[in-house]
């Protein structure tokens, strides 16, 4: 299973359409197969991210806020979207790999200015 996470710094990016960094991880049987890849995008656009998700053949997209139109597009393409997630991407990835992540999850460690920046 391939997971794509939109990130900003060490955290899940607040908005899917404004994300310029993504993390792509491959896992099998609740284990990461390899070190997750980090991609830096030259342009910021929800359409580019949707294309990337299709190109990379990901099964799960984890993100913060996403517009309905992009959410519907990805689910139509049989991609599971776990949105409105708030938290550090490492913890989020771990939860996603263990299939314990749900939309709207707010993890701890998101309450100080230092960690957020």
């Amino acid at each position: 299973m391939k997971i794509m996470i939109t990130t900003r710094g060490d955290f899940i990016s607040p908005r899917f359409d404004l994300s310029s960094e993504v993390l792509i991880a491959t896992c099998y049987d609740q284990q990461l197969m390899e070190e997750p890849r980090s991609l830096l995008l030259s342009d910021v656009s929800a359409e580019i991210l949707c294309d990337l998700a299709l190109k990379e053949k990901v099964s799960v997209v984890v993100c913060g806020g996403i517009e309905e139109v992009h959410y519907q597009f990805l689910t139509w393409k049989k991609i599971t979207v776990i949105d409105s997630v708030i938290g550090p991407y490492n913890d989020v990835l771990q939860l996603a790999v263990n299939s314990g992540l749900m939309s709207g999850t707010i993890l701890s460690g998101v309450n100080s200015r230092e960690v957020a920046s």
Partner: protein
Amino acid sequence: MNIESTLQNVSVVGELLNGIPHGVAILDTNLCIVRMNRFLEAMTGYITDEAKGVYGEFVLRTNLGSRDLVCKRVLKNGESVSIDGNIINRRRKKIPVHFTLSRLHDGKGKPLGVLIVLEDSSVMKVEKLGHQEQSIRTEIIGHSSQIEKVFELMSVLARTDASVLITGETGTGKDLIAEALHKSSPRARQPFIKVNCGALPEALLESELFGHVKGAFTGAVTETVGMFRLAHKGTIFLTEIGDLSLPLQVKLLSVLDDQEFFPVGGSKKVKVDVRVIAATHRLLRDEVQHGRFREDLFYRLNVLHLHTPPLRERDGDIRLLLDHFLRRFSAKLGRDVTDFSAEALAVLTQYPYPGNVRELRNIAEYSANICQGTAVEIKDLPLYMFRAAESQETPEVVRSRLDDSLILPEVVKKVSPVAGGWIEMEKEMILDALRQCGGNRSKTAVVLGWGRTTLWRKLKKYKME
């Protein structure tokens, strides 16, 4: 003293925030959520209890630049910021929002946090659209069913980005409609460039439209960008497109198809994003049939077609326009001309207005200038209106009147209308007279009522010797 303890001291703060009809968030100096009012809870989909302590940007999801630069600046400088943007809420809805950010501080000026007011502007945008439609109507005056149809079509055309062809007689408001279409389109903030294709010779027009590079021709001492590049991201309005020469029509067609062109003398292609609105008083379909207008360009321009009705077909609009222009000119001149007399109004409403609204406007301006009382009388109307009425009589009536009142040489009366103007008619007249007099020039001169020298001069002039 931190902001949370400050707010706890004031028990009414929560209720106070809930009383504000906009979303309000209070962030601490770490830019984490301290309080949200009910309006913001509904807007974002997060309740205060779960959002409390969370970094504000993760909850609000604004587009105010990455890494909360605006918030940090407000906290640092203390200057309030008002900015338009949007948020994406938990229900995956993007909401246009007007943000106002202010710094909160204790009585001694020490910053305690940031107050963010989020004003939902989606309602205002809908109202603005309605207002734009209204503004189309206020610039162009009319309530007739014919002009109402134009308004309806305009509100549809304004929302598209396709080329528009506006046709209609001269003075029917083609320019005004083009400008209104631009102003109510998504390109409204970008330039609107008007080019009169009939006003310039071909070589000059090409350089005017597409620009030229330095040294492209004699006198091209500097580079010119051209109207198409000036109108980049906006609208170019090509008026009198029917007067465009065939070679330029080819170039225009390629620009419309590819959105790129070579400036005059240039070797580098220029790409532009321009919406084209064209207008003409000519019947382009006829021009195509006569080979004066390229068929492919006609079909390319004729994506959306809008025809402006002539004033004589707009029932009831004449009176409306007369009143409007009279009021406007009378105010401009500082006069007290407010109305038309019944006789003057009868003439004005019966007049066919071949120059349409432009002519009506000029008549109103003339009347406002000439009139000495408070109501425009017949004597205050331009004289040509009555002459025009006479000229509308049928040729038979005019001829019979000429027969009765004017003593013209017999030859003149017999002359049938000849195409080609006065010269052709005079030639025909001389030939007829010569035929009648058996080629005798002295008799011909008498019949024509001229001296022999005049006849000789005219024969020489028309090479009829």
